[in-house]
Amino acid sequence: MSARLVRALDLITRVRGVRGAMVVARADGLVVAEQLMEGIRGNTVAALTASLAGRLHRAMVAAGLGPSQFWHLQCEQGAVLAVPAGAALLIVAVAEPEVNVGLVRLELLRAAEAAV
């Protein structure tokens, strides 16, 4: 993994409320790189986010909106945010519910640039 990408993941996890960030292979849902707090299961996050991204992608294309460029799953006790990095990767963050979504989005997009 490139030093730029390590640095980019590091910047994501420095945002207050972010519990972990990772790079995921879209095709098979495997972890490429991760920086996670203890207790977060990287393999599970990777598999689920890749699957959700795939389904969302098909729905958005069907809606004529083109591929998803950023998505944010809001849950009672947390959030998952993701951006694609090229055709093969996803950059994913797992966060607290009150996280600054705009800031995480910005860092995710920067990480995506570093990954491709």
Binding site: L52, L56, A62, A63, H72, L73
Partner: protein
């Protein structure tokens, strides 16, 4: 019905990507033109391999042709894509009943009943399984009929709200349209196409939230190249999609979604 078949065939020839193959295949199946129905279903599956309704349609045609093994595979695939697909649950119940596995047949009917408690065909099937009613038409259980032949949905759910006819969509838990409509910026109606995928998206969102220990999911916002969407659940058994172009930022979209969810809840309460 023949006029409908001609019209839908022409529409499909004009636009091979269109989802009208679902209605056309079902109409051909109902006319017992199984060869033609199968061709239409396979044509649709080649273009929409992740569409639960396409697998369900093909399964019903296979079951009509007594190809039960492949029908089982297709309904199984339908449920993998859309776990709340009542047509597939009823179809599998039919197949289990055929081979004498009454426990599995009843379990699948119960799962379908939980999702669609008002579906009278499920009650009839229960009665047949329990020996309380004769089997209709010589079949052990009535084969499920596709829901997409049903009349067009009520579009008054969001009356008075901005975008009611092109950017708001309310679905039931199985992904069937309850109200609203979606149109692309070019004006093409994509209601059915999007609805077909949303049940899978919401199931995956629920699974992700649950398995990551994040509690229930409250909403899913996404930015596309040409616009934004927000998906939420006004009630436990419904899904609401709000779609807008790029001019509406994601934050405002969430506010619009809250307003639309209130309207949807009021409308759903009135239906009970």
């Amino acid at each position: 019905m023949s006029e409908d078949i001609k019209h839908l065939s022409a529409e499909l020839a004009r636009d091979p990507q269109s989802l009208v193959f679902l209605r056309l295949g079902e109409l051909l199946r109902q006319k017992r033109q199984f060869e033609a129905a199968a061709r239409v279903a396979v044509h649709g599956l080649e273009r929409h391999e992740h569409l639960a309704d396409a697998h369900d349609l093909y399964a019903r045609i296979l079951a009509d042709r007594h190809d039960y093994e492949r029908a089982f595979d297709e309904w199984d695939m339908t449920l993998r894509i859309a776990p709340h697909h009542t047509g597939a649950l009823k179809g599998l119940a039919f197949l289990y009943f055929k081979v004498g596995d009454l426990a599995q047949a009843e379990a699948h009917l119960q799962a379908a009943h939980k999702i669609a408690p008002d579906d009278p065909s499920i009650g009839q099937a229960f009665a047949v399984i329990r020996g309380e009613a004769p089997a209709p038409g010589g079949e052990p259980l009535p084969l499920p009929v596709a829901e997409h032949v049903a009349p067009l949905p009520d579009t008054r759910v969001f009356a008075g709200l901005e975008g009611a006819q092109e950017g708001l969509l309310l679905l039931d838990a199985a992904g069937l349209v309850l109200g609203g409509a979606l149109k692309t910026q070019e004006g093409a109606d994509v209601t059915e196409a999007v609805a077909a995928y949303l049940a899978g998206v919401s199931h995956e969102a629920m699974r992700t939230a649950k398995l990551l220990g994040l509690g229930g999911w409250r909403g899913l916002s996404a930015e596309g190249q040409s616009g934004h969407v927000h998906l939420g659940q006004p009630t436990a058994d419904s899904l609401l999609l709000v779609m807008r172009d790029h001019a509406v930022p994601l934050g405002r979209l969430a506010l619009l979604a809250q307003r639309a969810a209130q309207a949807a809840r009021r409308w759903l309460e009135r239906q009970q």
